[in-house]
Amino acid sequence: MKRPKPKVAFFDFASCEGCQLQVANTGETLLDVLDVIDVVEFREIMSEKWDRELDIAIIEGSITDHHAEERLKQIRERSRILIAFGSCAAIGGVNGMKNNFDPDEIGKYVYGSDYHFFPTEKTRAVHQVVKVDYSVTGCPVYIPEFVEVLKAVLQGIPYYVPDYAVCVECKLNENVCMYEKRVGCLGPVTRAGCNSWCINNRNMCYGCRGIVSNPNEKGAKDVLSRYNIPLDLVLKKIDMYNKCREIKNE
């Protein structure tokens, strides 16, 4: 006897939708994925909508205004499982940079003098608004990890985002360390799980997967000064994806 396939919908909030594009671009594995789930809403690849109960809601994007907050809460109410999908959803991502500025100042900058018609709020990650059951971090998401999370959901078991540095996977891949190249890579403080994707491709780590739970801040500063890398530059780099970590959960 085959169980009915779980109904799955993708929703996007403040984001570039690049993470959903990653899913659309998965290739052959996508066929295997579609064998086990029933996609009922996914605006990047289909026109159908779904406003009833869901087994799995996959949320891309961060929450930046009260419309988004209400919509997210409604989705949460009708979904058995909710997955924060991509850095914007899971940790706030690049939209969090907004939180560096005074809201009136950036409102004016973007919308001009009529900015008060477009009320906006501090950027928050999805878990800072509703309960999140699973997270797939990354900008964009690393598809092998998404598939692992999906399998965990289908089995009803937890998925743990690795709580150790990207360096671990980077060393397993035997890359030349970015610090040997005098580049301020965020690998040493960023959570692994991406198989050191960027460094494998000769780029540095931008910290898109969030910071490990217990980073050695003093030690990290010492490392930067050892390599003559300006601290200010690296703090800005960390803020690029991780500004929302400053928001305390309500």
């Binding site: 035997e174 030349v176 190249k181 050695n216």
Partner: protein, 352 residues
């Protein structure tokens, strides 16, 4: 030295040797990756090989216990059906330094213990090792003289020493002899060649100096007295817990075991992947309790796993002096300095 155990390979025949050998076996040798970094990779010509190299990013242990290795395949669609998996590969490692040969000797001991690790041992059987002598120090991080690993001491099939216009090659096993026979480029070593080898070894004994003023035999006692040393607290402030030092260590062998189910949710595999005692979750257990909560405790553990615990268990040190942990540490935690600091803090306490 018995002459019959030695042959020579002229430098002009080196490329022919490598090309010929690569046609017979998968051949792996040190290759430059830029920035004075090297790695063992498959080669098919002598030109690809970095004959002069400092220890590779990862030691050759990656061929004996790959970073990720399938142990078991399973199918739970009807009953539980499992099948053990070993995927050994025939290969020859060329250019292995004596420190790394020592590392493999350590791993052989670990994985031969009961219960034997058949994945490791099956791979080990199929890998031939051609050593390459270090005529001089690789860099300031090595402690191979202190650890007594700078001279060849078995554990290889063939051992190459660069003597200018030629390599002199020690044949240590039948498998090594078969390589010599298969590649018809070697000549018998004359007495003069052996004398040159002896001369090099004499010179090495003067070039390689004990890197720290301590006898190897008194290191375990130093550690016995250093468990509560302040040196570990200093490491706590500096260590980023990135795990680099253990990943690159030729004798670190800890692994985690994970199950990965396929999307059909009934078939899958069980695999192991390198783990590290330096990582925050390494000793974290159910309920959130962590037996190694501090970076100081984890670093201390690493050092004791090299200089104290294996001395009791295996009667040898598990530091091979290769210096990789020091090279790979962004925070600049240097093995030589840590040992030096332990010695110093102790003498200060004695004098106080």
């Amino acid at each position: 030295m018995k002459d019959s155990q030695y042959v020579i390979l002229k430098k002009e025949n080196f490329n022919g040797f490598i090309t010929g050998l690569s046609k017979l076996h998968k051949l792996v040798a040190p290759v430059s990756k830029g920035y004075n970094n090297y790695s063992f990779e498959e080669v098919s010509s002598g030109k690809e090989i970095a004959i002069k190299y400092i220890p590779t990013i990862l030691p050759p242990k990656k061929f004996f216990m790959p970073q990720q290795e399938t142990l078991l395949e399973y199918d739970i669609s009807k009953d539980l059906h499992t099948e053990a998996v070993v995927e050994p590969e025939e290969m020859v490692l060329f250019g292995v330094h004596t420190c790394d040969i020592a590392g493999i000797q350590c791993l052989n001991m670990v994985f031969s213990e009961h219960p034997k690790d058949y994945n490791y041992l099956t791979r080990r059987q199929r890998i031939k090792i051609i050593g390459l002598e270090c005529n001089e120090y690789c860099d300031e991080h090595a402690v191979c003289c202190l650890m007594n690993t700078y001279m060849p001491d078995g554990g290889y099939d063939l051992f190459f020493t660069d003597l200018g216009d030629y390599f002199i090659v020690h044949i240590n096993t039948r498998a090594g002899e078969e390589i010599i026979e298969a590649i018809n480029l070697f000549e018998n070593a004359e007495k003069s060649h052996l004398e040159e080898l002896e001369k090099l070894r004499e010179k090495k004994r003067t070039v390689f100096k004990k890197e720290l003023p301590i006898e190897l035999g008194s290191i375990p006692e130093l550690f016995d007295r250093s468990f509560e040393s302040k040196v570990w607290n200093d490491l706590d402030e500096r260590c980023l817990a990135c795990g680099n030092c253990t990943m690159v260590c030729p004798t670190c062998y800890c692994f985690d075991i994970k199950d990965e189910i396929n999307l059909d949710l009934s078939t899958g595999k069980r695999y192991r992947v390198w783990d590290s005692c330096q990582l925050e979750p390494f000793a974290r257990i159910a309920g959130g309790i962590n037996f190694q909560k501090t970076r100081a405790g984890r670093q201390r553990h690493r050092y004791y796993r090299k200089f104290r615990y294996p001395v009791n268990k295996f009667s040898r040190f598990f530091c091979t002096g290769c210096g990789r942990c020091s090279r790979a540490c962004m925070a600049g935690i240097r093995l030589k300095e840590t040992l030096g600091a332990l010695m110093e803090s102790e003498s200060r306490e004695v004098n106080a």
